[in-house]
């Protein structure tokens, strides 16, 4: 069996699965229960300034009968007294010396307060800190959380304060509610952080009640933006992770990354790790299903590693990073067309209507005489010469491996937009020149 242990720049953990700083990591009872069930680490629910919570803290999005594809919260940081939290953190660390226990901190923007809180937290014996610069509601209005994370200068400044006081690794947790995530990531590098974690929750309003006109979540008739998490945010998290993980400054500084946002299964976790996460954190999935999901996460990942011949997580962490590219560097000569496997096709015609109404009208319904039935239903058939290879049909087809996008070679030059910009700038500026170029390059647009 593969070895799942990780060394997160000094924070050791029996596996990469950590509880995110959130309700599942709220108390010693919960974190110890989680460790017993297999979680490798936990980032304690953020401690810091005194708060008061409201009722109806959560709102969710269900999709086609599936509950919680996304979850929004207007919850604040821990509403338990800081002393109690620190006492319990120490207790957990004593009982689980080999697990990762990270303390998430968010206090008002004063050097003394930050440094004092960090020092008190170190006394628990914890393995490191996470600076919550991401909470998008309640705390931000008080100048904390994302109010910090959205201004790179503040991020850098507070990180410096903390680094002065801390002897343990420090993770800066980034907010996704920003135009360019790389800026606060670089600020963390400048501030001397050991690591970065992302993403915190995304600003959102979950919905509006059609009878009462109230918002979701509904706090006594009123609602406002809250933080969005859960499966629906995963693609956004993967993008932000890839942006940070492939940034040369972050790479040069050698920061570790803890990825999160929508992780529910071992497959999700592997994807984050392929894009450069050393550990992964989970909140919503545990809120939905409980700690027990970790058993499959561990087993699934280790089976996958065995299948791939990976001995340890380091063998694959970041393995997809070299594939991160930009539109300008994509190969314009790469071509594919849709191929339908009629042995698998169930004749739902979803590919037909998708291509016809929303793509390039190149699937026909034909009496293809594929069966012996007298009244044979019509079959979808791709007119390959007209297929632009957009892949829409293959994404709507409900049958696995029924429509495949097959690579073809029509002799188009293997060049990129950036290369054309350099060698033939006129083509990128003038439609007539573009038309001429297309002719020479054997590109037909219908």
């Amino acid at each position: 069996m593969a070895n799942l242990e990780i060394d997160f720049r000094g924070i050791k953990s029996p596996n990469p699965f950590w509880l995110a700083s959130a309700p599942p990591a709220n108390s010693a009872y919960q974190v110890q229960k989680a460790f017993e069930q297999g979680w490798g680490g936990a980032v304690w629910k953020t401690i810091g300034a005194p708060v008061l919570n409201v009722c109806n803290r959560y709102g969710t999005i269900d999709y086609k009968g599936q509950k919680i594809i996304g979850l929004n919260n207007v919850e604040l940081i821990s509403d338990r007294p800081i002393d109690l939290n620190l006492k319990e953190i120490a207790e957990v660390k004593r009982n689980f010396p080999n697990h990762a226990v990270v303390v998430s901190v968010m206090v008002e923007s004063k050097k003394e307060t930050w440094q004092e809180t960090i020092k008190r937290a170190e006394e628990t014996g914890c393995d490191g800190f996470e600076l919550n610069f991401g909470c998008p509601h309640g705390m931000s209005e008080r100048g904390m959380g994302s109010a910090m994370g959205q201004v790179p200068e503040y991020t850098c400044m507070v990180t410096e304060w903390v680094m002065e006081a801390a002897t343990k690794p420090v993770i800066v947790k980034l907010t996704p509610n920003i135009t360019d995530i790389v800026q606060p990531a670089r600020a963390a590098v400048r501030g001397g952080a050991t690591a970065i974690s992302l993403i915190n929750t995304i600003n959102s309003i979950m919905g509006v009640d059609l009878d009462t006109f109230e918002l979701r979540p509904n706090v006594g008739g009123k609602g406002g933006h809250g933080g969005y998490a859960g499966p629906a945010v995963k693609p956004i998290a993967l993008h932000l992770l890839s942006a940070v993980a492939s940034d040369p400054e972050v790479q040069k500084a050698g920061l570790a990354i803890s990825g999160m946002g929508g992780i529910e299964t071992w497959q999700d976790a592997v994807e984050f790790m392929l894009l450069g996460s050393t550990s992964v954190q989970v909140c919503t999935a545990v809120m939905h299903w409980g700690f027990r999901i970790v058993e499959d996460m561990i087993e699934g990942m280790s089976n996958w590693m065995d299948d791939k011949g990976f001995k340890s997580c380091n063998d694959f962490i970041g393995a997809s990073l070299p594939r991160i590219s930009n539109f300008g560097d994509f190969d314009l000569g790469f071509q594919s067309v849709a191929k339908i496997n009629h042995d698998k096709c169930i004749q739902c015609n979803l590919c037909f209507i998708a291509c016809n109404d929303a793509a390039h009208q190149c699937i026909d319904l034909k009496d293809a005489k594929l069966t012996k039935e007298a009244n044979e239903r019509l079959w979808p058939v791709v007119r390959e010469v007209d297929c632009v290879g957009c892949a829409l049909c293959s994404t709507v087809c409900p049958v696995d491996d029924c429509i495949t996008m097959v690579q073809i070679d029509t002799g188009r030059p293997h060049t990129t937009w950036n290369e054309i910009m350099k060698s033939k700038p006129e083509v990128t500026q003038d439609w007539h020149k573009m038309e001429e170029y297309r002719k020479t390059a054997n590109i037909h647009v219908h």
């Binding site: 015609n349 239903r377 219908h446």
Partner: protein, 476 residues
């Protein structure tokens, strides 16, 4: 062991009589319905819709359930099939829409029938009215027989502005939906609500009027612009065996009717019952006898399992209900002094295929035996409406094996004013409610075309463009 022999989970002895006559399938709860609706792929030019004899736009009505537009869903159903509530309960869906569902092969087909019932119940419970009489065109149509075929035709004509009167022999309208479909498949209230909907659209329904007795066919033909005949079929025919008049011998349809209109605890039934025949009616009689509390119910059928006309799912249902089957057994005499004491039968072998292609049963000499029983239920089909046939002769309307002969594209007889539909024209193929409904629709459209002109809305063809090839356009 075959799947259908799985143990019976229905425990009659743990249920009250009333509970045993509740609908077999409970209604879908909202979440169940939405989850099932979400499983539907929303196929384009969907095969389920092609397979539905009334061509209900199934993907659309299912999608509307999933979006919470249940009212719109009900409208979509009723637009194609005014008897959608009955059909959702009685249609042999495995043979029709669900059998054609693209998810049939690898997975589980969508529960189209139960979803349809969900939408129909929603509309009925809220008493939502979808249709009203169209602008009057001054033309009068008489409908003879207020069953599914008649009500469907009447409703469609009413929508198009005809003045329609339905003449119904019985106390209540909706034919076998009211009197013939066992209550645990369709409660009487559902059938009556459907009739009420047609009435509220503006159709006159005159009950307790028998055409041929209270009013003649000739009068109706004379007084109306068109007549639609939908009298269904008659009672169970005689078996022509000795003892048929003994007390305890019952017409299967009368037996079912009792359970629909009488108080359940007032119904008399035997403890050991022989049901003769193996079609839908026989299955229904046998299962209601079991649910009433009869200890032993035997279905006696002269051919073998393979030839029985009941659908396979009905056969399975009867087995699960604890009904026994005696195949290759022909009743020859009902024995008893003044009431039934037994059924004398002879065993059969299967010989050469007969005209229907089924191997014909031949009695085995000397194999007579008697099954002790205290009730015999005849369920060997229904009589043809010979009186109506006689009345029609004058108009040159012919019959096919006792059924009214029509042109199936229009359901018109040779006489330009006389149309017919439903069981009384079903000379071949399975008689079913949904076919009767479609017959009514076909006739209504033909009447419109004949008297008024082309229909604007050719939706049925447009929606199920199943026969023509569709090519993606060449956009440039």
């Amino acid at each position: 062991m075959a799947e259908h022999y799985k143990p019976n989970t229905y425990k009659a002895w743990e249920m009250t009589l009333e509970e045993r006559f509740q609908e077999v399938y409970p209604p879908l709860a909202e979440r169940e319905a939405v989850t099932e609706a979400n499983r539907c792929l929303y196929c384009y030019d969907a095969p389920c819709m092609v397979a539905c004899p009334t061509h209900i736009d199934i993907p659309t009505f299912i999608r509307k359930i999933s979006t919470g537009n249940v009212k719109g869903s009900a409208r979509t159903i009723l637009e194609s099939n005014l008897m959608g509530a009955t059909c959702s309960r009685v249609c042999p869906v495995q043979e029709l829409c669900e059998g054609a569902c693209v998810l049939e092969h690898d997975h589980k087909p969508i529960m189209i029938g139960r979803l349809q019932r969900y939408a129909m119940d929603y509309a009925t419970e809220r008493n939502i009215k979808f249709f009203e009489k169209g602008k009057s065109n001054g033309l009068k149509v008489a409908v003879i027989g207020g069953g599914p075929a008649g009500l469907s035709c009447a409703g469609e004509l009413c929508k198009m502005g005809f003045d329609v009167t339905v003449y119904e022999k019985k106390k209540w309208a909706n034919g076998l939906s009211t009197y013939g479909i066992v209550v645990f498949r369709e409660p009487v209230e559902v059938a009556l609500a459907e009739a009420k909907m047609i009435q509220e659209m503006g159709v006159q329904i005159k009950t307790n009027v028998t055409i041929g007795k209270d009013i003649t066919l000739d009068e109706l033909v004379e007084q109306n612009d068109a007549v639609f005949i939908s009298v269904g079929l008659g009672n169970v025919p005689d078996m022509s065996v000795p003892g048929e008049n003994l007390a305890g011998v019952m017409d299967g349809l009368d037996f079912i009717e009792e359970t629909k209109v009488e108080k359940l605890d007032s119904i008399k039934f035997g403890n050991r019952i022989c049901v003769i025949g193996a079609g839908n009616t026989a299955i229904d009689c046998a299962t209601i006898a079991r649910r009433l509390g009869s200890e032993r119910v035997n279905i006696i059928y002269r051919r073998s399992e393979a030839e029985m006309p009941a659908y396979h799912f009905e056969y399975e249902f009867a087995l699960r209900e604890g009904v026994s089957f005696m195949f290759l057994t022909l009743p020859v005499e009902i024995v008893g002094k003044d009431k039934v004491e037994g059924l004398k039968c002879v065993r059969m072998d299967l010989g050469e295929p007969d005209a229907s292609g089924r191997r014909s049963p031949i009695p085995i000499p000397g194999s007579e035996f008697t099954i002790p029983c205290d009730m015999v239920v005849k369920a060997i089909g229904q009589k043809k409406q010979s009186q109506m046939m006689t009345a029609l002769a004058k108009y040159d309307v012919k019959d096919i094996k006792g059924y009214i002969a029509v042109d199936f594209a229009t359901n018109r007889t040779v006489h330009p004013k006389i149309f017919a539909g439903g069981d009384c024209i079903r000379s071949h193929g399975e008689a079913s409610t949904v076919m009767a409904v479609q017959d009514g629709k076909i006739a209504a459209k033909a009447i419109y075309r004949q008297f008024i002109g082309e229909l604007e809305d050719q939706t049925e063809h447009a929606k199920t463009g199943c026969c023509k090839e569709v090519a993606g356009a060449h956009a440039h």
